[in-house]
């Protein structure tokens, strides 16, 4: 097989990798992308997209099921719904398939050559790809490492059998009767909530004193409340010790030091993700590392000339949109543009019920950085649109500097709040002040008015509270 020589080689076709390759192609760079699996990476195939599909299906099912129970306040009643979960999964798979095809098409249109197979480094300029037709050598002037991340396995609960990762949880043949989620972070709670709505008996085991420990308590509380409503058992300050003797239940050390055993069809371990840095000869390059991550500078350059790294392999937050922004930037830098990572904020969304959106600094983080702040929140209890959605839980919160009112952060929790993240991010990235938000007309009736009112409140003249 003839060697390929190119200007740019991207290893991994996840959101970071494919964005990098497409942008490079747009800029006229001769680019090759290598992917062992289907394009789209974790996000598209076994992460964001399929989980959102499942969450949506679960929401729809739960709404109908609630109506069937006669609990719907909207006056709708119906017979008890039934769920063909295989069909649900098929619907989800179809979405993924369409997006796989979309990414492939975009790469092709940008003139990027795709090579299917697992890559491994020979040196900083040469990579071997095990394709179905044999080993393909690729020589590249510049290489972008975009290998992503994988779920962390607990030594006491190795994956296999009943113990599953998020990947398997998104491809179950049926809804488990009993599901234990080990790890009350955003991945575990998103999936746990979905399965609870689909009828599973869900228990969440979290080692920290509360769920979603990466968020402040103000933001996680509405989610904890909703989990109780949905009948999800949450064990905090609890540790998963391992399976019981016959492997049918999880042994948990509870907060009081006692032990309890939870029967479960499936035990979903979501204790975090780790960068994919092994198994492809990365050690041959002897790059500088930053803990488990590849160390990069503000231009995504590693310690080796001509080798870039983007996405989850480079550190937290492990989010697709961060990887995409890095990929786009890396491609432009490789094309000779002057770029550097100077973003004010990377939005993060937790698709629980209700959804949590965070952009920029929380009040605590802002104070820790030495800012004097004004922070206020506007509760959806006082928002007309929230009431018409039959969900008045949650709020929008602004964090601004006390001296010049420049916004440092915007957070919120509420149903469907994810779509507000665009407004939050734009405000921060544009350097908005509280006055800018206050003087912007926010459409009525929308949840977005919450942002308006929170800013007004900080300025001392909220209207609706």
């Amino acid at each position: 097989m003839a060697d390929i020589t190119c200007k740019l080689l991207v290893i991994g076709a996840g959101p970071g990798g494919y964005t990098c390759a497409i942008r490079a192609g747009q800029l006229g760079i001769d680019a090759v992308i290598v992917e062992a699996d289907r394009p789209g990476g974790t996000c598209l195939n076994i992460g964001c997209i399929p989980s959102k599909a499942l969450i949506h299906a679960a929401e729809a099912y739960e709404t109908v099921a609630r109506a069937a129970d006669g609990n719907a306040a909207l006056g709708i009643s119906t017979a008890k719904p039934s769920l063909d979960f295989a069909k649900t999964i098929a619907w989800k798979d179809d979405i993924v398939r369409r997006l796989n095809g979309g990414v492939s098409g975009l790469l092709k249109r940008a003139g990027v050559r795709s090579v299917a197979g697992r890559a491994s480094f020979h040196d900083g300029k040469t990579v071997a790809v095990e394709t179905t037709n044999g080993v393909q050598l690729i020589h590249a002037e510049t290489i972008v490492i975009a290998t992503g991340s994988v779920p962390i396995e607990l030594s006491s609960l190795p994956f296999g059998g009943r113990v599953i990762s998020s990947t398997e949880a998104l491809a179950l043949a049926e809804v488990p009767n009993g599901l234990v989620v080990v790890g009350g972070g955003y991945i575990g709670l998103e999936l746990g909530t979905a399965f609870a709505k689909l009828g599973a008996d869900v228990t969440v085991v979290e080692a920290a004193p509360r769920i979603l420990p990466q968020y402040d308590g103000e933001l996680s509380e509405p989610v904890a409340k909703r989990l109780r409503t949905l009948g999800v058992t949450v064990l905090t300050s609890a540790r998963a010790m391992g399976l019981n003797a016959d492997g049918t239940a999880l042994v948990v050390e509870t907060a009081d030091g006692g032990q309890t055993t939870i029967e479960a069809d499936k035990i979903l371990v979501t204790v975090g993700r780790k960068p994919a840095t092994s198994g492809f000869g990365l050690e041959l390059l002897d790059l500088d590392m930053n803990g488990p991550f590849i160390r990069i500078d503000d231009r995504c350059r590693t310690s080796m000339r001509g080798v870039f790294a983007i996405g989850d392999v480079t550190g937290e937050p492990m989010l697709a949109h961060r990887a995409m922004a890095q990929g786009e930037m890396a491609a432009e830098i490789i094309a000779g543009h002057r770029r550097a990572w100077d973003h004010v904020a990377i939005p993060a969304i937790c698709f629980t019920d209700p959804e949590i959106v965070t952009v920029g600094l929380s009040p605590g983080e802002a104070r820790d950085k030495g800012f004097e702040i004004k922070t206020d929140l506007f509760p959806f209890k006082a928002n007309g649109r929230a009431l018409t959605l039959d969900r008045d839980d949650g709020f929008v919160r602004t964090v601004a500097r006390a001296d010049n009112h420049a916004l440092l952060g915007i957070q919120g929790v509420g149903v469907g709040l994810a779509e507000l993240s665009a407004a939050f991010s734009l405000a921060l990235e544009m350097g908005a002040r509280l006055e800018d938000i206050a003087l912007t007309i926010h459409a009525h009736p929308t949840l977005g008015e919450g942002l308006h009112e929170a800013a007004l409140k900080s300025l001392g003249h909220a209207i609706h509270i």
Binding site: H337, R338, R339, A340, D342, H343, V344, R401, D403, N404, H405, A406, E429, M430, G431, R433, E435, D436
Partner: protein, 423 residues
Amino acid sequence: MAERVVRLPDVGEGIAEAELVEWQVKVGDLVREDTVLGAVMTDKATVEIPSPAEGRVVWLAGKVGDVLAIGSDFVRLDVDGKSEASSATTAPATQTANAPSIQKAAPVASVVPSPSSAPKHIAPSLQPAATPPRREGERPLAAPAVRLRAREAGIDLRQLRGSGPAGRITHDDLDLYLAGGTTVTQHQAKTAVTDIKIVGLRRKIAEKMSVANARIPHITYVEEVDVTALEDLRAKLNEQKRADRPKLTLLPFLMRAIVRAVAAQPELNAHFDDEAGVIHQHAAVHMGIATQTGPGLVVPVVRHTEARDLFDCAAEMIRVTETARSGTATRDELTGSTITITSLGALGGLATTPIINHPEVAIVGVNRIAIRPHWDGAAFVPRKMMNLSSSFDHRVIDGFDAAQFVQRIKTQLETPAMIFIDA
């Protein structure tokens, strides 16, 4: 409305104009009788102009730095208080002549410091006032498109001050910076120009220096003086000094030495009126002492040095320089010197080229005392050495006479007993 015109009074003898150095009121202000309206400066002194009546200020004669004719309208007051204030600002033009003040009328034009005449810094209008400067390490506030443009242009946004709300850097700020006319904070080529209007004392100094340097062909003569013996004597005198006597510096000795030197060479203690072609030799030795004050250089005068002993010279010198520094010197204390001493004290330097205090003909400059090796014929010995840098009006003082004068001073300072013994 009843208008009362306050004219600029005759603030000095025979002067035709005065420079406006301060307004203490503005249009619209209510003033009482005797409220100070503003201050003007003549060649001699700063004079505050009080209001002769009660009323509301409706018009001011000009801005600080303008030269106003004596007798011209200074302030107009609305004295019945019924009319609105700001309507009368368009008034007929007054005689705000910009010609330099007349030098001839002042035989010795020493100048008076006025505490209120500090130069006004005219800030470039580009700088927004409201925004506090960014703290060290704080990232600048700018929209992504601005950040990208800056990066592409190779500009570090930390170097810019933003004109937007909260100090946000806008596209306009960037344009301005790219055009080269903007506010740079550090480590960049700086292009801003700060305009400082030369008014008051600084203007007087500038005028005097120009006249002196343009009209007088200077000859500067630098000589080395061994002051070891003088310093020993001075130390002893200070050690044993009476409580009622001032501490002695080197200057009183020099003053006395000059008195004796000009006694032998009276042509050096003189005023040269070059327009009349006359040299006025003075019998009195009024010693000007060039003195640095907050607003600038002034020359207070120790009068009749020839009639004062060493301690009297010292005490009077301390008194007049203090009044000069505090801005309380009278006209008499600042005029009439016949020869001048200039000393930069500890900063004295190796040599200087003093400018003569016009219309005098000589100025003696004192440089720093330093211990230097001196060849005594057999070995190097450490001696306290000091240079005198003296300038003379070469039109009327020949180099030989200048040198002889300095040698007379040198001889006395090196053998200080000679200062006190009439030979």
